[in-house]
């Protein structure tokens, strides 16, 4: 044991010796996720995009509430029905000192769509709707589309701009820093996979200078370890604080919490296509016609679920109940739709009207490692439904297994399940993306309904959505998107929204994070109080 003691003593000495070396201008972050690459066009995925946002800028930026603000483009406007004009910021330099101009925009859009190794490309944003980029002069770009395309600025707020010097260079050259030159607030220093990611401040940044001169990001996947690292003072700031720890941390005087609602809605899909559907049986275990096809049954299920109880007991109060696709304050949201009130008697009445006075038997499937407390939510819902007569068995599994079995390959190859729990985060910050993917009729050519796992279909909604996607005027489009949501969720109960996730960040006392609806954790959002 002597060996242990002396080693421990030596380590203590070492730690105390090193303490003064820590710079006040350095921020150390314990992050729950790690990017798969630093190349901003390699993988369109949350953990990658939040890291890319440090190094690279976009033509149009999204602020912490996902509102569009000028980025590398100072202004943008539709000059006719099918042409958008972007005026670029002048005097901006990449981290390697080269100048930013229209050629870099054209190059980045092409690279985003055609990266040969991309795991999930940015084509939907850079070339979706048939966009064609034209250089007018060194700081003006026109984007033409065959049809009016109102989502232009939103789309381009998702594509990072890289220097055209990166021609022919792919993710390897970005991961090692040889070509990692953006125009963002931070410069890339180094990345050791699984260990550390370092940035230093870009003193020539075109926007507000970030507070921290140096940023060290450590990936710590295990939530208790991440929290312990914060409590031990090894990191200054962490994301993804587990809901069970929130109440206790609120009382801790050394910690300051930041919370904010996210753009992610947790909801239920119901099979509205097959008849009979595999996971709905009569009380006697015999096949019955698919009850989920009846809107009264869908509404009864929605009424039978107490969202307040789930939020209070399962989510420890850290969630907001949902009645549509996006929480308050987002563009194109309906003011009429409210979260369905808990009404078990009304649910029973509706079930009886629909011809199921004794209910039926079903299984609710869900993942157990994808969303906050997902398995517990599934169990709670199963109990609530059983109380109104729909005998529900909860069945949860790891996401790696779940999403294969819940995959929608169109009407001929529907998901294996009948009744499932899923979540959706709207990267665009408005409801057209979930409407198009979750609720529009499955259509491979148009790219609609790709994640419509219940195969819900209503031509009336499709028509309104089509009109919305062609309306350049913001007010008109917002009204049409709200109308489409009212049809799909209010009238049809195409999906059953449960709640919006609320994310929690924790920092040591004296620091404050500006919570973001896009769930991103970014160093430039952390500031001294």
């Amino acid at each position: 044991m002597h060996f242990c003691k002396s080693l421990a003593a030596a380590s203590v000495a070492a730690v105390s010796l090193m303490a003064p070396a820590a710079f006040a201008q350095t921020l150390t972050i314990g992050l729950g996720t790690e990017p798969t690459s630093i190349d901003p066009h390699y993988h369109n995925l949350g953990p990658n995009n939040q890291i890319a946002a440090h190094i690279f800028s976009r033509l149009v930026e999204q602020d912490h509430l996902q509102r569009l603000t000028p980025g590398l483009a100072l202004s943008w406007k539709a000059i006719d029905d099918t042409t958008w004009e972007f005026k670029l910021r002048k005097g901006v330099k990449f981290h390697d000192g080269s100048d930013f101009d229209a050629d870099d925009v054209l190059f980045s859009m092409d690279r985003g769509a055609n990266h040969p190794n991309a795991k999930a490309s940015f084509k939907l944003y850079s070339h979706g709707g048939g966009k064609e980029f034209i250089k007018v002069d060194s700081h003006t770009v026109h984007v033409k589309t065959p049809k009016p395309y109102p989502l232009m600025a939103t789309d381009l707020s998702n594509v990072h701009i890289v220097s055209s010097g990166a021609k022919g260079k792919w993710e390897g050259e970005f991961n090692n820093g040889n070509q990692t030159f953006g125009t963002g607030p931070y410069k890339f220093v180094k990345w050791v996979k699984g260990e550390v990611l370092e940035f230093e401040r870009n003193e020539a940044y075109w926007g507000d200078k970030p507070h921290w001169q140096k940023v060290i990001i450590k990936p710590i996947k295990s939530s208790p370890s991440r929290l312990a690292a914060l409590l031990a003072g090894d990191v200054d700031f962490i994301d993804q604080v587990p809901t069970v720890d929130v109440a206790k941390l609120k009382k801790n005087a050394k910690i300051s919490l930041s919370q904010g609602v996210s753009n992610r809605v947790i909801y239920l899909h119901l099979d509205q296509h097959r008849d009979p559907t595999p996971f709905a049986k009569g009380q006697d275990g015999k096949d019955i016609k698919n009850p989920f096809k009846d809107v009264r049954v869908r509404r009864a299920i929605s009424k039978a679920i107490s969202r307040d109880l789930i939020i209070d007991r399962v989510m420890e109060g850290v969630a907001i109940k949902a009645g549509q696709l996006l929480p308050d304050g987002f563009f194109g949201r309906s003011d009429k739709l409210k979260p369905e009130a808990y009404d078990p008697e009304g649910a029973k009445k509706l079930l009886a009207e629909a011809g199921y006075p004794n209910g039926f038997v079903t299984t609710l499937h869900g993942p157990n490692d994808r969303y906050i407390n997902d398995a517990k939510i599934v169990e709670a819902i199963a109990q609530m439904l059983t109380r109104v007569g729909i005998k529900t068995t909860p069945d949860t599994m790891p996401k790696s297994v779940y999403f294969k079995r819940a995959k929608n390959n169109g009407p001929k190859k529907p998901p294996e399940f009948s009744f499932i729990l899923v979540g959706w985060g709207s990267g665009t910050g408005e409801p057209s993306s979930p409407l198009r993917s979750l609720l529009a009729t499955y259509n491979k050519e148009k790219g609609w309904g790709a994640a419509n796992r219940g195969l819900h279909s209503n031509p009336k909604m499709d028509e309104v959505l089509e009109k919305a996607l062609a309306s350049v005027g913001d007010d008109k489009r917002a009204a049409l998107l709200a109308q489409a949501t009212e049809i799909a969720i209010g009238e049809d109960v195409g999906i059953i929204p449960l709640h919006y996730q609320v994310n929690t960040w924790a920092a040591k006392k004296g620091l404050k994070y500006q919570a973001r609806t896009d769930e991103r954790t970014v160093a430039f959002g952390v500031k001294p109080e």
């Binding site: 798969t36 999930a120 260990e195 312990a228 790696s400 990267g427």
Partner: protein
């Protein structure tokens, strides 16, 4: 002995190949890597492009054929997630894991053997009983819990040691190691002890059982009758004879320490292979899983070989040629 080693190496190639087949088929049954990888908003066309780019549109036996072809040329495939060669990703993680496993092994020997021998020589002493009771705790407490408790006590409450991660590394013989810097050692101590706890308990028990058996042998009595000092009896005559079971077990356990220190590496965010395999399983990064398990099998085979050779050195009665029959 040369013949023995060559024969062993040839057998191990077959083992690795069979293993790769089983694992390849196994991982192809579970889940869909594309669903794990692709963004929610991807269209159907985008999805098909990714499936094609990863070669997943082919039936599994065709995929396996491509894989074997690649292996023959030393290419274990490209990671689905990182897009880099799977072998390169794993090799990058090896130094961190080796360092951790070696530190744990050293702790197990340095702490375990003296305590075991002591409690074997004085089986009824109070201290011996305390050691044995402690070893039961070491066996039965779950690693992740002990790891978290270590962090809570030594990092959060006392603030003596850092909670997670690997410290500063310096190059040594061409690889980056962290045990040569103070910062590195302070980061290494808790995870190594956490990983070693189970092994220490095991070594204590093995050493104690061996000591109690050997201490009664005639040659020990003879050595003492001859008037040799207690020190010499224990350190030379007794130690040499209790080492065989300890070396065997530690050899096998070392393989386990390298390949499956998943829990410790996850709790302490140690950037080693264990953390890599668990991340790869979660994201269904099939090429990395297959390559990882092949390397693991190879490590086990080599360790077994080394143990066999060590045997013959420790115990001259063991002849390696005999294994052939």
């Amino acid at each position: 002995m040369t013949v023995f080693i060559i024969r062993r190496l040839m057998q191990s190639v077959i083992v690795v190949l069979v293993m790769s087949f089983i694992v390849f088929v196994g991982v192809n049954i579970v889940g869909d890597p594309v669903e794990m990888m692709i963004s929610d908003e991807a269209t159907q066309e985008e999805r098909e492009k990714v499936i094609k780019s990863m070669g997943l549109d082919q039936p599994w036996h065709v995929q396996y054929g491509h894989f074997v072809q690649g292996v023959a040329q030393g290419d274990l495939g490209k990671s689905f997630v990182y897009g880099e060669p799977a072998l390169k990703i794993i090799v990058q993680r090896i130094p961190a894991t080796f360092e951790l496993a070696l530190a744990a092994l050293v702790m197990a020997v340095v702490i375990g053997i003296p305590l075991g021998v002591y409690s074997g020589l004085k089986p009824d002493g109070r201290l011996s009983k305390a050691i044995m009771a402690g070893s039961i705790l070491g066996f039965s407490l779950p690693t992740f819990w002990v790891g978290l408790m270590f962090i809570m006590v030594f990092a959060v409450m006392l603030g003596w040691l850092p909670s997670t991660g690997r410290g500063d590394a310096v190059p040594f013989l061409g690889i980056d190691v962290s045990f040569l810097t103070m910062d590195g050692l302070s980061h290494l101590f808790l995870p190594a002890l956490n990983l070693a706890l189970f092994k220490i308990s095991m070594v204590i028990r093995l050493a104690r059982a061996g000591t109690r058996e050997v201490a009664l042998q005639d040659y020990i009595k003879f050595a003492r009758a001859k008037g040799l000092s207690m020190r010499r009896v224990v350190l030379v005559h007794l130690m040499k004879n209790i080492m065989i079971p300890v070396v065997t077990v530690l050899g096998l356990e070392f393989g386990g320490l390298i390949a499956f220190s998943v829990v410790t590496e996850t709790v302490f965010a140690w950037p080693g292979m264990g953390k890599l395999i668990i991340d790869s399983i979660q994201s269904l990064d099939r090429p990395v899983i297959v390559a990882y398990l092949m390397i693991t099998v190879l490590i086990f085979v080599i360790i077994n070989l080394v143990v066999d050779v060590l045997y013959s050195i420790l115990d001259p009665r063991v002849r390696l040629q005999d294994v052939k029959s």
